[in-house]
């Protein structure tokens, strides 16, 4: 949703950057879980 709220320039303010960082960390954690489960 951050992409939608900041289109078209996608210049994130500090709050949005923090939220984006949190979401990306979550995503990385989920990808890590999938790797661990599926490729073991």
């Amino acid at each position: 949703m951050i992409l939608r709220e900041t289109a078209p320039g996608h210049e994130l303010d500090e709050k949005q950057k923090a939220e984006a960082a949190r979401l990306l960390e979550n995503l990385e954690r989920q990808v890590g879980s999938l790797k661990a489960e599926m490729l073991k």
Partner: protein, 393 residues
Amino acid sequence: MKCGNGIEARQVNELCINIDPIQAGGKLTGDAIKAIIAYGDGYSVCDNCRKPNRLDCIAKPPIAQFHKEVASWLDMDEARMMPGARRAFQAVAHTYVKPGDPVLLTALSHYTEFLAVEEAGGVPCEIPADADHKITPEAAAAKIDEVKKKFGRAPVLALIDHVDYQYGNLHDFAGIAKVAHESDIPTLYNGAYTVGTMLVDGKALGADFVVGSGHKSMAAPAPSGVLAVTAERAKEVFRTTQIEGDVTKRRFGVKEPEMMGCTLMGATLVGMMASFPHVKERVKHFDKELENNRVVMEALLSIEGTKILSEYPRKHTLTRVDTTGSFDTIAEAHKKKGFYFSSALNDKGIFGIIPGATRVWKFNTYGITAKQARYLADAFVAVAEENGLAVKP
């Protein structure tokens, strides 16, 4: 990214400010996007369907609760989710209109309201709009009198848009409903542009039926919508089946003929449900939406020759403008002809103006942020200046 079979992933709302007049209120919330992926399989919501085996009675996911909440939110007694507002018009028209019956519409009614009347065999009787493109209670009263003289009876149903699709004007629905009720005409509130964007109180408005569009104004996938009704009308529109097979003697329980049994299933329904908490919250802040629209309108009106065709100041974000005296004056000599305008806007990351339109066109600022409104306003002025149009300071 490809979705298969030549389908490109759509990124319009991620890459652009989308001011398409019919798309603005239907942009999905993050929760709806997750829900439609999770419930995309065909009969996904039927995993826990138990007696009485009807969609609006399913407890998990909380579909039954959602139906109750939507009815309450609109201050009506019962609600059903529909595959679009048009299917709600159809259900109501089919219930009340018999061939040859006069039906009250307006000069600004959506075509699907006409089609619903046509399918039921009704005769459309349009309340004319005034010079300001408004439908008034006085004009409604005059039309009802005219119908009574012509048909020897009052219209059997009125379908009235609170905000019309052509100008985005806010009409006096409550006043019109009052006039209609004086002649015992059940009145349908078409809230395709209001249910989900503005606070709607069906009882206060005097509506017998409230219709909303999920994909137009409730941040939901298409096709989705809602039909909410009073307890009195629920017995009629939501009547249950009485049919019986002559050989098998089968009957079909509590299925509702006008709903064709179960109505809105799967991803569309769950998408609506997922967006609903956000929708309930956003309708409380329509003043901010109008403020964003004002910023954009002031910029457009600063471009000499631009006129607004909708009522002004705006009461809704869907707006119709006439740029025959501004942007259209460039089109003739421009190498891209009339396409230069939408093309220039696209280059600035703005989507939703009909390509080639430079005379009369519509846009909708609903759902954009204040920062995006400022960007949009500046973009219109920039396109004007880049093409040598005069802009008031």
